[in-house]
């Protein structure tokens, strides 16, 4: 078998044991390549466990800039005996295996269609380090040294990163250098050049390497959020922790006092309850959670809808149902969030497609929730939230002002501006509100989840109830032109086929579209960025004979929403579904769409639906 030969275009996967300290070494490997100007897509694939179970880190090196998962592995760094057999199988024919050869393995443990590279990492480290924990940690840096030599990574860049990593813990810098050099020198002396190589390039530009949860938290800071009430749950916990980090950095006054408040609540119900109270009283407040948390928050979310109280919920989606796969990614909370709670409800959702959008939508969600006085869901996914993505730098327009929505002040009330809490004064179905304590005699009202009239008075009269519910529907219509518009990309050739997708599918879809185009398959593409759907989404469907809806769940939840909200005939929409918990790959999309096109999916379309 001919070995794979590739420069700046290959996939490396690390198989490790959770808790062995490999994450920082693997992350450093990815970052070195970025510093060399070559785009990288990295995925940490980890178990729902603290220690001992298998964990993987996959790095896609792609000068062409494809950042989604490609599928297949060119070089496996196999450091976990438990998963050896499965890891070995994943290597592409002609690929490479790097393993710790300190202990000999029988020939039956290898494949003859790949190149086997042994490096006695444990032995090497044992010569220099005596403390067991050090031996474990430095073994990781040692294999980075081996890889650096094998692949042509710049040693100076590695050392620069190590220096930055351990700034303030200077004692750790020298031993890390030593471990790195051990591996590098061994490879220089013992490992012949392989077919995979990294060359310095200039394709990274000013892009940053950021996690979506961190970005969304920073967006919340710029969006004026002053209060976070949260309860720990994977994969949203790091969002609250980042909010704490950024607030501590950016929101202290001259006396060291906090212009923010963060409460770790006793549960998800209390979290959203506190957010309701703060939103009602005029602070921008949010919680972050995942599917199981949303289930618990349902009652309050319905309350927010009916009593019209602003709130923001960051839902970092993971594999469901039930406890499901807490550390795997999915797009499976759409229906749960869209119609959360009992009775007739609808809630806006934003779908960031990368950490930069997580930052932007993290801020925008607060303007929307204040203006429309309702809960806004920011639908992150584990794949965006907890993974580092190469993404555009965060931008902020200094002239931008926070849109607090329709709030009557003391001055308004003094001037005699009439107030009725649920009156549609401006014809957009969005009412005015007052904050508690505004005026001694005017503007107070009673907030309740039970039915009320236009002036917030308890009323069980059918006409008061239906009037309120119909106004909420009109408010929903107004919202359509305020939420982020979809991004549409036309194919190079006129085509009857389209594809709709959202969120973390974006990089894999971009690559798939390009690859399919080179094979003569042309698709117009639309990335949905918000619910309620903008009219452009339905125009797009109307303008195509068939539209593939690519999503990462079993039941085609985005398709269901499109059918339900737009009256689209279901046969016009063809589901492409990926839901094994791993991020979707370009190869999967290409294969599924190609097969469906070849099977003549459009032929099955009922005449009346065309």
């Amino acid at each position: 078998m001919k070995p794979i030969v590739a420069t700046n275009d290959f996939v490396v996967k690390f198989a490790n044991v959770n808790g062995s300290g490999s994450a920082s070494a693997n992350g450093m490997f990815a970052k070195v390549i970025l510093r060399m100007g070559v785009p990288v897509g990295a995925r940490n694939i980890f178990p729902s466990n603290i220690q001992g179970l298998p964990t993987w880190y996959e790095v896609r090196v792609s000068e062409a800039g494809w950042l989604g998962r490609r599928g297949g592995v060119d070089l496996m760094v196999a450091m976990n005996p438990q998963t050896w057999d499965a890891d070995l199988k994943e290597i592409m024919p002609g690929g490479y295996l790097l393993y710790d050869s300190s202990k000999p393995l029988p020939a039956s443990k290898f494949r003859d269609d790949i190149t086997i590279i042994g490096a006695p990492l444990t032995e090497l480290i044992a010569t220099e380090f005596s403390i067991p924990r050090e031996r474990q940690l430095f073994k990781n840096i040692c294999y980075v040294g081996v890889l650096a030599q094998m692949l042509g990574l710049e040693s100076d860049t590695v050392k620069q990163l190590l220096t930055e990593e351990f700034k303030g813990k200077d004692k750790l810098i020298e031993p890390n250098f030593r471990a790195f050099e051990l591996g590098r020198a061994y490879a220089e002396a013992n490992i012949p050049p392989i077919g995979l190589h990294v060359n310095r390039s200039d394709k990274v530009g000013d892009r940053i390497f950021a996690e979506g949860n961190d970005a969304a938290a920073l967006g919340a800071v710029y969006g004026g959020a002053t209060f976070c009430a949260w309860y720990p749950i994977t994969p949203s916990t790091s969002l609250a922790e980042s909010f704490q980090k950024y607030c501590t950095m950016l929101r202290k006054d001259a006396d060291g006092k906090n212009r923010f408040a963060i409460v770790q609540a006793e549960d998800e119900i209390a979290s959203i309850g506190m957010v309701m109270g703060a939103g009602w009283a005029g602070s921008r407040a949010f919680t972050c959670t995942s599917g199981p948390g949303i289930s618990l928050m349902n009652e309050f979310v319905g309350f927010s809808y009916y009593a019209e109280i602003p709130a923001v919920i960051f839902d970092v989606q993971r594999g469901g149902p039930s406890t499901g796969m807490p550390t795997r990614t999915q797009q499976s909370d759409l229906l749960l969030a869209a119609y959360a709670s009992h009775g007739d409800t609808k809630h806006p959702m934003l779908f960031p497609g990368n950490p930069t959008e997580a930052f932007e939508m993290g801020a925008q969600a607060f303007d929307l929730s204040d203006f429309f006085q309702t809960t806004v869901f920011v639908m992150l996914e584990l794949d965006i939230g907890m993974q580092e993505w190469l993404t555009e730098p965060f931008k902020w327009d200094e002239k931008r002002r926070l849109n607090r929505g329709k709030v009557l002040t003391y001055e308004h009330l003094e001037q005699g501006v009439p107030f009725g809490r649920y009156r549609d004064v401006d014809g957009d179905a969005v009412p005015y509100r007052t904050y508690p304590g505004t005026h001694p005699t005017k503007g107070s009202y009673f907030t309740r989840g039970s039915s009320h009239d236009k002036d917030a008075r308890y009323s069980e009269k059918g006409e008061d109830y239906t009037e309120g519910m119909e106004r909420l529907l009109r408010k929903w219509e107004t919202m359509k032109s305020h939420v982020p518009a979809p991004i549409i990309k036309k194919a190079k050739k006129r085509t009857p086929d389209g594809v709709i997708y959202m969120g973390s599918t974006d990089p894999a879809m971009e690559e798939a579209l390009c690859a399919m185009e080179s094979h003569g398959i042309h698709l117009d593409a639309l990335r949905v960025r918000a619910f309620p759907f903008n009219n452009e989404v339905f125009d797009f469907i109307r303008d195509h004979e068939q539209v593939f809806v690519v999503e990462q769940n079993r039941d085609g939840q985005l398709k269901s929403l499109l059918v339900n909200e737009g009256g689209v005939h279901p046969a016009r929409l063809v589901s492409v579904l990926h839901y094994d918990g791993t991020p979707i790959t370009a190869r999967f999309i290409i294969k599924d769409i190609t097969e469906k096109l070849q099977a003549g999916q459009a032929a099955a379309l009922p005449e009346k639906a065309k």
Partner: protein, 351 residues
């Protein structure tokens, strides 16, 4: 229950308090509770207390959950914003509002079903966080709106209206509040306005978590022989540990009691709680002693009332959170949005 609308006119000669409001300014809509309901008496006491401490009505923020008691915030202090939350989850909503707008006076009104069953967790956690609020439990030991089921505060062995006996132990919210760190704890009886009004006044003036358990007989479902929350039972077993007066910072200080019988406690806002001992061995500033005393008296079937514990030096949740002096909901864009240079620095750190 009445459907007669209250006249909106005020008699010009009505007495005004120091901030210019009459007692009528603290009233609310007409109650829809049963005639004779203890909860209405508590509403009247709240109205009286707010009037007497010269609280500007709009500076009150009133909260409740679901249930008979939770209807009552609509029946007092109309110029205040009110919030009728979901069942048992009022404490979290109040906590959030308090974090956003700390300068208001927070009053949560709840019931025994709301507080001791579905909302027990939220009650506990709001108390342990030290939310600056007055939490009144209108405790009738029964589910009134759903017509007479036992609640979690119904005493073991007490009888329901139809004769069924409660087999479960009761949760004593006062004991719980003391254990969880509430810094102002009292118990009273809806029929004892002379005791209840000063208790509420002191609580509203207190910085930190104030909890008042008010036994409030349910005339429809829990006011019969065998009930330990009936008017007759409470009157016969009520044992007050002290009598209390509250002197607000603005009021002249008068010496009404003889030295030796009196304990004066100065609170954060300058108000003075003037406690006249009725029980020689009771010290309302000793949390552990209060717990022991209450346990002994409970075993004897007595209902101990009065100000049971106070820590005048209490801190609150905002102290723990180290928040700025200004209310969070009043921070300006300039104070909230970091400069562009900060964002550029963050971008640089991510390369």
């Amino acid at each position: 229950m009445t459907y007669i609308a209250k006249p909106s006119l005020h008699h010009p000669s009505l007495e005004r308090n120091a901030v210019g409001f009459t007692r009528r300014d603290y009233e609310g809509r007409i109650s829809t509770l049963c005639a004779g309901c203890g909860h209405d008496s508590i509403s009247a006491s709240i109205i009286q207390a707010c009037f007497e401490i010269d609280l500007e009505p709009h500076r009150l923020a009133k909260f409740s959950g679901i249930g008979c008691s939770s209807k009552t915030p609509d029946y007092f202090v109309s110029p205040a914003h009110g919030f009728n939350a979901v069942h048992g989850r009022m404490p979290s909503v109040l906590t959030g509002a308090n974090i956003a707008a700390k300068d208001l006076i927070y009053l949560g009104v709840s019931g025994d079903g709301d507080s001791a069953s579905i909302g027990l967790g939220q009650f506990c956690h709001a108390v342990r966080r030290g939310v600056n609020m007055t939490y009144i439990c209108e405790n009738n030991g029964v589910y009134g709106l759903t017509k007479g089921q036992f609640s979690a505060t119904s005493d073991k062995g007490s009888k329901a209206k139809k004769g069924a006996e409660n087999k479960d132990s009761a949760i004593d919210l006062v004991m719980l509040a003391l254990q969880l760190g509430a810094t102002y704890v009292g118990r009273s009886f809806s029929g004892d306005k002379s005791q209840l009004v000063p208790l509420i006044k002191g609580a509203l003036s207190h910085k930190g978590t104030s909890f008042i358990d008010v036994i409030s007989p349910c005339v429809a479902f829990n006011n019969h022989v065998g009930s330990t929350k009936s008017f007759d039972y409470v009157r016969e077993h009520n044992e007050a540990v002290n009598r209390m007066d509250v002197i607000s910072p603005r009021a002249p200080i008068r010496a009404d009691y003889k030295p030796g019988e009196l304990k004066e406690v100065v609170q954060h806002d300058g108000s003075i709680l003037r406690l006249r001992k009725l029980e020689d061995d009771y010290d309302s500033t000793d949390r552990n002693a209060a717990l022991g005393y209450l346990a002994r008296k409970a075993a004897e079937g007595e209902i101990v009332t009065g100000l049971l514990y106070v820590d005048p030096e209490a801190s609150d949740l905002h102290d723990s959170l180290n928040t700025v002096t200004c209310q969070l909901n009043k921070l300006t864009d300039q104070e909230l949005i970091p400069p562009l240079s900060a964002l550029e620095k963050i971008n640089a750190s991510l390369r």
